[in-house]
């Protein structure tokens, strides 16, 4: 049905010529929005699995001058405090080398870092599922150990998830708008093809062509153009995403690990290709059938 020989000289249509470009451009935008949503989703998921039950405590430096205790003393005190809190599975100080490594992207690996006053970190693991009032714990810890700041990732993970959700909604709205605009464009192109080839269509009809036969010819035509355009748009969007991730990748290794967040969700980016084809097919068919009934 799609690749049959055509009775209409559709290749010479002026209106059809720009269809792939319009569809391509719109699909490009939709695919970028989709890429944003997939990326945000992947990040949230990764960070959530990494951080969901992770709570850290920072023991700030500098308090040494104010109080009598050294930073190491206060780390020990905090660990002791935390160990008996219900719901806490373990509380372990992170070796200072690990802290340095975490800061490497910002400070470099020189010896300057070793001289800097750095916070000491304590990693806390919660018993999975335990309900711990972290806000209260943070308060009590700060009172018990000077300079101890409990960092709970949950609130900003929540923010991040909301942001991802927002991007997702944006992507869906963009897709809907693009689909709607595509339908309008395809209606226009179909009508103009009908008008352009009215005589040929009349002859086809006079020698016994059903409406569906005539529609099939135009359907095949707009299916081809829309699929081509969508493929173009998706290819451009993929190129943009890859280029963008290469740039980001060079700047901040580890923060936006696109390659690592690869998942089946990236296949969603291909969705606009069959979608555009099917939308074109259905729209042209409906338009042609309606116009033919009106013409008679």
């Amino acid at each position: 049905m799609l690749f049959r020989r055509s009775d209409l000289p559709l290749d010479r249509d002026p209106a059809g010529g720009f269809l792939p470009w319009i569809v391509g451009l719109m699909v490009y935008l939709a695919a970028l929005a989709l890429a944003g949503a997939v990326l945000a989703d992947g990040l949230v998921e990764r960070w959530r699995s990494d951080l969901a039950d992770a709570v850290t405590v920072q023991i700030m430096p500098g308090a040494d001058e104010q109080g009598a205790q050294t930073q190491a003393d206060r780390v020990e005190e905090a660990v002791r405090f935390l160990a008996v809190v219900p719901g806490v599975a373990s509380a372990k100080p992170l070796p200072q080398e690990d802290v340095l490594r975490l800061l490497e992207p910002w400070l470099g690996s020189g010896s300057i870092a070793e001289d800097l006053p750095l916070p000491a970190l304590i990693a806390i693991e919660l018993i999975p599922g335990a309900q711990v009032d972290l806000a209260d714990l943070k308060h009590r810890l700060a009172e018990a150990v000077p300079g101890a700041v409990l960092e709970d990732h949950k609130p900003w993970l929540g923010d991040l998830a909301r942001l991802a959700r927002g991007i997702e909604i944006l992507a869906i709205v963009t897709m809907a708008l693009v689909a709607f605009a595509s339908v309008l464009t395809i209606v226009f192109v179909s009508r103009s093809a009908l008008a352009q080839h009215q005589e040929v269509i009349q002859v086809l009809s006079l020698i016994g062509a059903r409406d569906s036969y005539i529609a099939a010819q135009l359907q095949a035509y707009s299916f081809r153009l829309a699929t081509l355009g969508a493929a173009l748009g998706v290819a451009l969007a993929l190129a943009t995403v890859l280029a963008g991730s290469a740039l980001l990748g060079r700047a901040e290794t580890g923060l936006l690990p696109l390659a690592q967040s690869f998942s089946w969700r990236w296949l969603l980016l291909l969705l606009p290709v069959p979608a555009a084809g099917l939308i074109a097919l259905a729209t042209t068919r409906a338009t042609v059938l309606r116009q033919l009934r009106r013409m008679a």
């Binding site: 000289p9 040929v200 002859v203 086809l204 009809s205 006079l206 020698i207 016994g208 036969y213």
Partner: protein, 226 residues
């Protein structure tokens, strides 16, 4: 085959072309449709191939009241007819072969059958060397023969031809008339609009003569030497 009952026709608010047109054509008949230019020969044929509808009255075609046909049934009805249009209406971008093949393809015929069948018929009408030519490269007479081949390729039940010999010389005109006769002998009902008196005299078929916004049935022309 065809039965008109008090059919009236006018274009828009124009003058009446037909009024109370009543006649019938039995199956297997062969008629010339004659009348001066502008009398309504083409209009009567358009009614028959369902391109226009009567302004009043109705008629039946191949046993069906045309007023009751939906679009699908109109398409099916047209597949049982062959029409030679006065202006040919060939598709410019298709070769002679593809033009003639169109009614078969539109009806969903198998491609192997289409090609051999069409080439054979084109050879028969003297266009064996022009099978792959586009209409624009053919003479008026050659285009007309392509149009005729397209009309008869399906062996229609009803053949309608509008001045089909107007652009060809007498030799070929006669050859085409034999083709129509041949089809008629196989059972096709034929109506040929013409103002070629020579043909009407030579091929003695009854005439439908358009007069006074109606038609009069005239018996076959008498032999000149009778």
């Amino acid at each position: 085959m065809v039965r008109f009952q008090r059919v009236g026709l006018r274009y828009g608010n124009g003058p009446e072309i037909f009024r109370d047109l009543t006649f019938s054509l039995p199956p297997g008949s062969f008629h010339f449709l004659v009348g001066p230019s502008g009398a309504g020969k083409s209009s009567l044929l358009k009614l028959l191939y369902l391109a226009i509808r009567p302004s009043s009255g109705t008629f039946s075609l191949l046993g069906r009241d045309v007023a009751s046909l939906d679009r699908e049934e109109v398409a099916m009805m047209r597949r049982r007819m062959g029409v030679v249009f006065q202006d040919f209406r060939l598709l410019d971008h298709l070769s002679a072969l593809d033009n003639v093949a169109l009614p078969l393809r539109v009806a969903g015929a198998k491609e192997e059958q289409v090609r051999s069948h069409v080439a054979e018929l084109l050879a028969w009408v003297g266009l064996a060397d022009h099978i792959h030519s586009l209409p624009a490269t053919l003479s008026g007479g050659q285009q007309q023969r392509v149009a005729i081949a397209r009309a008869v390729i399906t062996r229609p039940n009803l053949l309608l031809a509008d001045e089909p010999t107007g652009n060809v010389d007498d030799m070929i005109g006669v050859r085409l008339m034999y083709l129509f006769d041949e089809l008629n002998k196989l059972g096709t009902t034929v109506v040929i609009a013409t103002h070629n008196e020579g043909l009407v005299q030579r091929f003695r078929h009854p005439q439908l003569r358009i007069e006074n916004r109606g038609v009069r049935l005239v018996p076959p022309a008498a032999r000149a030497t009778a």
